[in-house]
Symmetry: C2
Subunit: 346 residues, 2 copies
Amino acid sequence: MKAAIPKPTVHDLAREAGVSLATVDRVLNERPGVREKTVARVKAAVERIGYVRDTHAANLARRRQYRFAIVLPEGPNQFVDTLRSAVQEASGAQFAERALVEMIPIPSHDPHAVARTLNGLNTARLDGVAIMAPETPQVRDAVDRLKDEGLAVVALVSDLPSSARDFFVGINSFAAGRTAAVLMGRFLRGLTGHILVVTNTMQARDSIERRFGFDAVMADEFPALEVLPSIESHDDPERMRRCVREALASYGDIRGIYSMGSGNTPLLEALRGAGDLEGRVVIAHEMTPVTRQALLDGEVDAVITQNVGHLVRSALRVLRARCDGVEIFEPQERIRIDIVIRENLT
Amino acid sequence: MKAAIPKPTVHDLAREAGVSLATVDRVLNERPGVREKTVARVKAAVERIGYVRDTHAANLARRRQYRFAIVLPEGPNQFVDTLRSAVQEASGAQFAERALVEMIPIPSHDPHAVARTLNGLNTARLDGVAIMAPETPQVRDAVDRLKDEGLAVVALVSDLPSSARDFFVGINSFAAGRTAAVLMGRFLRGLTGHILVVTNTMQARDSIERRFGFDAVMADEFPALEVLPSIESHDDPERMRRCVREALASYGDIRGIYSMGSGNTPLLEALRGAGDLEGRVVIAHEMTPVTRQALLDGEVDAVITQNVGHLVRSALRVLRARCDGVEIFEPQERIRIDIVIRENLT
DNA sequence: GTGCACCTGAGGTACGTCAATCAAAACCGG
DNA sequence: CCGGTTTTGATTGACGTACCTCAGGTGCAC
């Protein structure tokens, strides 16, 4: 019931480097007051004996508590709701891992309000922030400020590439759009007609990129299918229903519907009224209770999504790694573009 | 830079329960010598103040080293190779988390040899085992014995449902087969013809189940496509090439090829020789360097797979949780059936 | 009411690391 | 080689838990 080679400790390190424990500690924690030469000697010893610091013991000793905030758009949104519950779930487990996770809602559509919220964060009481917000100059500046104050920052779901964020946890929207297009085109093999594209708003970066990827593939590989201009509901269910009905009426040959954003409920309502057309294919984004049920009912053929559980756990792992100054393990943090049909709905 | 509500410790627990630290310790670690009533009192206090034991501190104190073995089939197999490297990758990180992970090869096709290896494991030097092996009575008995000896046991990739294994980390093969069928049928929309099914051996439980799921969906939803009996290569590349060529020659209308197991290299070689048929669709299982390249080259249309990184990390997490007597967080351990096409190949 | 088994309390050491103090040693310019 | 500065060493007490010992307490059976 024992055995196992014991891992080298700071004591072994000190002996190996021929210095005292205090010096080892100063080197490991990058405290001042150690000569270059000594630092090198200790680091060499680290390599030699393969010392790895015991993070748990270290956290215990320094009574570390990670304090993270997750900034999410407020207001009713199916996808954000699933994200929120994923955060809830995760923060229970995180609590045991000495992390406190706080959710902070932001008004979705006002860049200034978003920036104000970010700037209002009490950086002294936080170690890291995960942010899901559309990229604007105000947000970029706010993120840079957070970084300046020494926080770890990750962009969640939607990237903030021009900012100083440490990492992006989410999927590539172009690729997501391309994936949707291939499924759409292949499911409609041999047919000619129009594709309807609906979204909440084309202002959002995601929508633009998805559409871009979608169009590129459709034009290239499925020229028999013509993609119509995007219908935007602007968060108005009635408008969504009306526009979809109108489009179905004006074009007799709408073979496929690509739903790039939220608003799936009114979309499906509008479709229920319409008769079935041969091979009609509906592809939507993001797994939510609505799209899940629609998959089961055969009203949606495929959902392109990202696992919210992974999203949240990954964001928290990355924040933690940043705080510890540890390398992240990239393959684990790469969020996949999930294709979900009824049969692989777990 | 401080604040944060301190988590309750054993001391708080002892005070709350009105007992001594020693008693708290005895209760928490299920040591004998405590009256039922006192145990209940402590447990009530745990609930009341929401005490959660600090696993890291506990592991530190007991100088815990988890010793895990991962039992994998030996011999050349693309999928197992990717699994092996995933284990390699993971065990580096695990080392820092006080776990030693050892890989143990087993002769793939001899149930007795498998059982012999399992029975030969030094259970005194192990805390848990993850096993990828076909289910046989011998293996079942060996697993039960390991459980009797107090080890945590998880079945990896292929379930051992009749054994006493703690958990299964992998995907449902029926569902995987169904998923392949839906893609096959939909990609071949409107076409009539035959589907070729190839595998290494139909002895394997996986193959049987995949085929079962595949057939069910094809018969139900795509009656225009007729599925041929499985071609088995029995690990012989030449045989695979020959049989595939023969099949392609005998049937002029083979629209799709479903590769249920390994042997993708010779399959693809055989296909390269044959001319293109309208809409020909190839669907394979398991992401390996071969299938990945084939996706990129357009030789394979979709791959049904499971993420080996998740597989391994999940198995190790479950083993660890079992050893700690802690509940596992199910949603995180549920392995998804991934559908990969060129566009969502990350 | 005595003996004995069984419970419980008090206290200590350890785990690997952090953080702090104080004293000793090495270094350096003049 | 002096005095001051910079580097180092030795030591100590946490952190939250495990595990051990020893002493004292309780209750039960006879």
